[in-house]
Point group: C2
Chain length 170, copies 2
Amino acid sequence: MWDNFTGLFEHLEVPAKTTLLEEGKISRMMFFIEKGCLRTWVNNNGNEITTQFFFEGDKVSSIESFRTNRPSLYSIQSIEPCVLQTISQEKFKTVWENSAEIKSEIEAHLFKRLVQSQQLFFSYLKNNPQQRYQQLIAKHPEIIQRVPQHYIASYLGITSVSLSRIRNRR
Amino acid sequence: MWDNFTGLFEHLEVPAKTTLLEEGKISRMMFFIEKGCLRTWVNNNGNEITTQFFFEGDKVSSIESFRTNRPSLYSIQSIEPCVLQTISQEKFKTVWENSAEIKSEIEAHLFKRLVQSQQLFFSYLKNNPQQRYQQLIAKHPEIIQRVPQHYIASYLGITSVSLSRIRNRR
DNA sequence: TTTATTTCTTAACAATTGTTATCGGCAAGA
DNA sequence: TCTTGCCGATAACAATTGTTAAGAAATAAA
């Protein structure tokens, strides 16, 4: 579906720990991950809290900021060295206006994220950190494998010390 | 904007603690609150966890279920006796198809809920229950005023005992 | 008004998590 | 190679929250 627009993309390679979008700035780029992994995180009094992980095949952007030109609520950063395809806001607009198919794909994507966001939220209300960690192992073992533990801890809403305790509990 | 469609609505009065939609069932109705308040909640091993509160002027439905005909992730229940306007899925479709204005209003509403859901989620990662309670007082004092405390406790992700302690701490 | 139901508070104890600090292992870079 | 920085484990103690239970207070129903 995106095949007609490959010319609009630019190739980008970045090392680990590269900031692709800074919290508070406006998102001008959307990223498609070919190789590597990214995370989004928010600043809490100088404390980094990771909110999401992305891997090969994922599209990543601060969608709210990208769409509305408002400051992003979070930063986007590479965890590993990455190979990305990028598209600018401007060129994306071309795609948006020339493909009803993609437009509705994006709408559906937005809707899906709303539901996911809600389910993630519910899992926070329903489960304690230990249960959330076990669910993460069950549903996304690739995260446990690839991502440094302290990122996972903040993603679970706990400290890395507490996560280490949970892992060695029994 | 909705004025042309008032004929499609039905008047409904319900006492307190009336279930308007049950978790797991498909949402066929959308509600507009004229008077009273509602809550949404999820079941967790027989434990009710409140996820949202709604007041006069709010539109309420399990939007995901209403749109996709999939089982609702949560129940909708009245907290106080309520006066509601209801519209069926079918009649809503008429509105949807005959008003581009409303269609885009709903899209915007969906987008807004995505962002809100995200912010609520971030506040869970960033703050402890005590901080969340204080923010709730600051941002939504009407909830504290009108809603029984144990609903608020589960909304904050804690037990009512713990909320009582937080309130009387100092 | 009296009774029943719901709501909130308090207490005691267990379990979990946060905080701070130290240490060892490992990998990237000089 | 050596150094530096990053990462995870552990310990000790403080603070918070969960659990269970009992009782007071407020509200609704009879």
